[in-house]
């Protein structure tokens, strides 16, 4: 009665595998791709639900991080609450969906979250997968090293005996090839792991969003320092959402616009000062 694993799978096992594979394929193709038409806009769904689901990361201070009590805090958390307040007049009508960078597009495209705000920069290849609003934050890509490191500029990193801590995203892979191809790249899942790698000496440099690095350097002023400048000029961080939902995009975009230049500027400015110690740029 015992099945020997040396025996070739019987025909019935192959049949089951075929059936299961075709079921999986059917499920996949029945999953609506990003551009499918939805009967009801996410805006209606959110209003009916009474709270908004927001995709966030958890290890990118000061944008979002877990504080000592285990609560999710950060600039982007507060911006999300501001949006909830605009929707429902209640800043707590929001549920945060912790998401990894791998899965952020899928998370909004399948409706697991209504929008995402997680230190996400607008790059053209990404716009093929997901929709962005106007940027809510201007950032840049910089590098951080240990204070006693011989590295003074980005070009100094480009040496074969150096390791650079990067994020496991497509753009960091590109930046590695473009700016420091000779150095060894270590790809991590979160920004916190990047800075832990530099602090412990595993990597000689960590390159990612400047505001994150600035915050980290502020926490460890005697051990770390930032390299001056950015690798590629100004970058835009923006809210991302499912493609094809114009009503929802228009709502979110209008709110972001009002935060940056309009009626919501005072509250946005307050948050900006709280987390970055300076006034929000008003253009």
């Amino acid at each position: 009665m015992a099945r020997s694993w040396k025996a070739k799978p019987r025909a019935s096992v192959l049949r089951v595998l075929l059936v299961a594979a075709s079921m999986l394929l059917a499920l996949q193709s029945s999953c609506p791709p990003a551009a499918a038409q939805e009967q009801q806009s996410t805006l209606q769904k959110v209003l009916a639900r009474g709270k908004v689901l927001v995709a966030v990361t958890t290890a990118s201070p000061p944008f979002e991080f877990i504080d000592k009590e285990g609560k999710l805090e950060g600039f982007e958390i507060d911006v999300a609450r501001l949006i909830a307040k605009s929707l429902f007049n209640k800043p707590d009508a929001v549920e945060f969906v912790r998401t990894s960078f791998d899965a952020r597009w899928t998370t909004v495209n399948t409706g697991r979250a209504d929008f995402g705000i997680m230190v996400t920069t607008i790059y053209p290849p990404r716009v093929l997968n997901v929709a962005f609003t106007e940027p809510y934050f201007k950032t840049g890509n910089g590098c951080m090293v240990r204070k006693d490191s011989p590295i003074k500029t980005f070009a100094d990193i480009n040496r074969p005996n150096f390791s650079v801590a990067l994020l496991n995203i497509a753009e960091d892979h590109k930046r590695h090839e473009e700016f420091y191809p000779k150095a060894k790249a270590l790809y991590f899942g979160t920004q916190s792991e990047q800075y832990a790698a530099v602090l412990s000496g595993q990597a000689q440099a960590a390159c990612t969003d400047r505001p994150f690095l600035a915050w980290v350097v502020k926490q460890h002023p005697s051990e770390l320092r930032m390299l001056p400048g950015t690798t590629a000029g100004t970058l835009n961080n923006a809210i991302f959402l499912k493609q094809g939902d114009f009503t929802w995009w228009l709502y979110l975009n209008t709110i972001v616009n009002e935060m940056r230049h309009g009626s919501l500027y005072p509250e946005y400015d307050q948050l900006y000062e709280k987390w970055f110690g300076e006034h929000a740029p008003r253009e």
Partner: protein, 217 residues
């Protein structure tokens, strides 16, 4: 269908990760198979502190997760002044874990060899090492070959944990591709298929070796 097209596109992109997976697995296996034997010999020896030390080592590693061990080694050791690349740290963590398991396997095999063999070897005038090499070990190893095959498969599977400390093996590559293509479903299913093929090859190869060794008996 989009799924199949994407799947076929993803498969070759995972190949660079495959080499690292294989490298980790082979390295960890070689180290733990050798060191594990030394530990097992200590565990069956007459020296009580040695037996105790190995037992404590095995118990501790059996009851703690590999993931935490890897973080401990990768993030913690540098503070002791030990600098290692992620690959080395992962290799060390895997070797430390599986040395414990291998030592248990060898120990069971050694203890299963009948007293008669020991006595026969003594009667023939063979010393400790000679009798071990010519009489005891061959029997012990043949007895535990299936368990060793299992360990080998387990090592291949455990290499996936190295993805959490930035080793660009199969699982991490899967994550990179998932992020690029916005289709996490395909990427990780492809990674799973790679592991199925890898472990399948290992199992079949081990079976062949097993049969050859049994035949040589």
């Amino acid at each position: 269908m989009a799924f199949i097209r994407l799947f076929i596109h993803v498969i070759p992109q995972l190949v660079p990760g495959l080499w690292l997976t294989v490298g980790l697995a082979v390295g960890a296996t070689v180290i733990s198979a050798v060191v594990g034997l030394a530990f097992a010999l200590a565990a069956v020896s007459k020296i009580a502190p040695a037996r105790l030390a190995v037992a404590a080592y095995v118990e501790f590693l059996r009851n703690t997760p590999l993931l935490v061990q890897m973080f401990f080694i990768f993030f913690g050791l540098p503070f002791l002044g030990v600098r290692m690349s992620p690959f080395s740290a992962a290799l060390l963590a895997l070797a430390v874990q599986h040395t414990a398991f291998f030592s248990e396997i060898y120990r069971a095999g050694l203890q299963a060899v009948s007293k008669r063999s020991h006595e026969a070897a003594k009667a023939l005038g063979l010393g400790y090492w000679k009798s071990l090499r010519l009489v005891i070990l061959p029997q012990a190893i043949v007895k535990v070959l299936p368990a060793m095959t299992n360990e080998l498969v387990q090592i291949v599977k455990d290499t996936s944990v190295a993805s959490t400390i930035a080793v660009a093996e199969l699982t991490l590559r899967g994550g990179t591709i998932a992020e690029q293509t916005a289709s996490t479903s395909v990427a990780f299913v492809a990674v799973a298929c790679y592991y199925l093929v890898l472990t399948g090859i290992v199992t079949v190869a081990a079976r062949v070796v097993e049969n050859r060794l049994r035949f040589a008996e």
